[in-house]
Amino acid sequence: MNSGILRQMRPTFVYALLGIIFMFAAPQVLQLFTIINLTTAIALAVLALSLALIWGYGGILCFGQVAFFGLGAYAYTISAINFGGSTWAILMAVMITSAFAAALGYFIFFGRVSDVYLGVITLTVTLIFFSLIRRTSGPEYKIGNALLGGFNGVSSPPINLPWNPTSFLFPEQVFYVAMAALILCYVFAGWLVNTKFGRVCQAIRENELRAELLGYDTRLYKLGIFTIGAGIAAIGGVLFCNGVGRITPDVFNLYNAALTIIWVIVGGRGTLIGPIGATFALFYLTSALGGQSVLNNNLVLGIILIFFVLLVPKGVAPTIIDWVNARRKKAPGRVRRRRGSRGEGAQ
């Protein structure tokens, strides 16, 4: 029934197409500095996408999604230094992070840890990484040839062409890679939520007991989407340390952990494009605020969060979708288009 999935993924393809246009147009009109900055924003958008997937569709409020992001970045950097090339390092980053998430998730989901404690555990894991890596500044803390560097972090080797370690990509090329990765991850996530697996995950989000009573082993599904989300976050981490040029333990701090949640709240749970858009918007807002000294950056972010929680609790994208749907229904004399046979797919 592939045609059905493709039909439900139509909005996903539309956004992916817009992304492709942006990918090729942006370097033509924007300055290199902006492009380098954009690469970082794209990396963060991949992180937001991963949380949008596991929280918005899997119902798993992971407060430490940034742990997988940072772990991916560190795994990439350390592997790239040791292997002398990025090809296997990228794969290692995704695999190590997913394996770590699978192990952590196994104890959480098969131990039937409740939602609140899941948030606490994942946040704690993030902060443990933060404290642990900050203390690795001596020369004795090295993995292979890579010094961990404590709170100064490690400088990350740039991505090179596959199996050609001497052909480093230039910042503009890294932008293409990042944008392509974001689009691919987005389409993959959009496809995933429309598969049987994705639909069962949404069912579990709605009512875990009912999903169990239908005969689904909810622990396996939750572990699955959690692990996949961690893998996507790791890809974001790889892009991030490429955009910035180094990775420091600050990636694991409380501020970043909370920021990820804010992107998804503002963008809207239950959509994938919303959190991606919110990440870009808030990233540029933060940059703009950084250029002035009248208002404190965190204060503004706090106000935005409170505004959304109180007044737009569903987030931007779902609110717009509801509004459009309501208007479409009201519009007189128009033949109402039939929606996909099983409701709205991924947006």
Binding site: L213, L214, G215, R342
Partner: protein, 242 residues
């Protein structure tokens, strides 16, 4: 599947469920035969729902055994019980509020079948339960009775050979209750059923054999007429109603 009418499909041996000092279910030996329709009745706190939850894996019994089709299922997870082909409806409607009625039912059918068959089965179930008007509505926006029906639809769509219903008619209108009784009769043509109920009228509509719970134990097991006629049963339960 070789099943015969006389086969035992559910059996509990010496089943106990204690909460602290409260013996919610106490040494219950229970047997259900294939294609049987059994009602569990009893006053509030008699242990019917606790017994039900022990059968469905929602509670792990303190001691004793639960066997479903001869398989030891004591303390199994709910999905393991459901995976045997058991359809379960809980007391409080357990539905997927954020999904449409159609999606709810599809998720049940899809557990057992490929997508094409699941869709056909979903359409069939919607037709059969007359849910056509609400199929595309979010279940969270439906009235209580309609939600109950969506949940019954989920049970039916899985084509279970054993159906466990906890107060299926609770909160339904008279018309809906009547239709539920009809549906139960229909389900009973192909599957065994255990129905926990309060509504005496409803039980009279569907009942064959009734098991009367009292203080965690089985007090009587007979036809509704016999139970209505029994003095002890009237005292514990029916006295103030019938």
């Amino acid at each position: 599947m070789t099943r015969q009418r006389g086969d035992v499909v559910v059996e509990t041996r010496d089943l106990c469920m204690h909460f602290g000092g409260v013996r919610a279910v106490d040494q219950v030996d229970f047997t259900l035969f294939d294609r049987e329709l059994r009602c569990l009745i009893g006053p509030n706190g008699a242990g019917k729902s606790t017994f039900f939850k022990c059968l469905t894996g929602q509670l792990r019994p303190t001691s004793g055994e639960v066997l479903i089709r001869g398989q030891e299922m004591t303390g199994a997870e709910p999905f393991e019980v459901a995976s045997l082909g058991v359809g379960i409806k809980t007391q409080v409607p357990n539905v997927f509020d954020g999904l449409t009625a159609e999606e709810n039912i599809w998720l049940s059918a899809r557990r057992w079948h490929g997508d094409a068959r699941a869709r056909a089965l979903t359409a069939e179930t919607i037709e059969r339960l007359k849910l056509g008007d609400i199929r595309r509505m979010l279940v969270g926006r439906l009235a209580h009775g309609q939600r109950q029906w969506v949940e019954l639809g989920m049970v039916v769509a899985a084509e279970p050979w054993l159906v466990l219903l906890d107060e299926p008619a609770a909160g339904m209108t008279h018309e809906e209750t009547f239709r539920t009784a009809e549906l139960i009769e229909e389900i009973n043509k192909t599957s065994a059923l255990i129905v926990v109920e309060h509504d005496m009228q409803f039980i009279r509509m569907i009942s064959r054999t009734v098991t009367l719970f009292h203080e965690g134990r089985i007090l009587m097991q007979d036809t509704m007429e016999a139970i209505s006629a029994d003095k002890r049963a009237r005292e514990v339960y029916l006295g103030h109603r019938a």
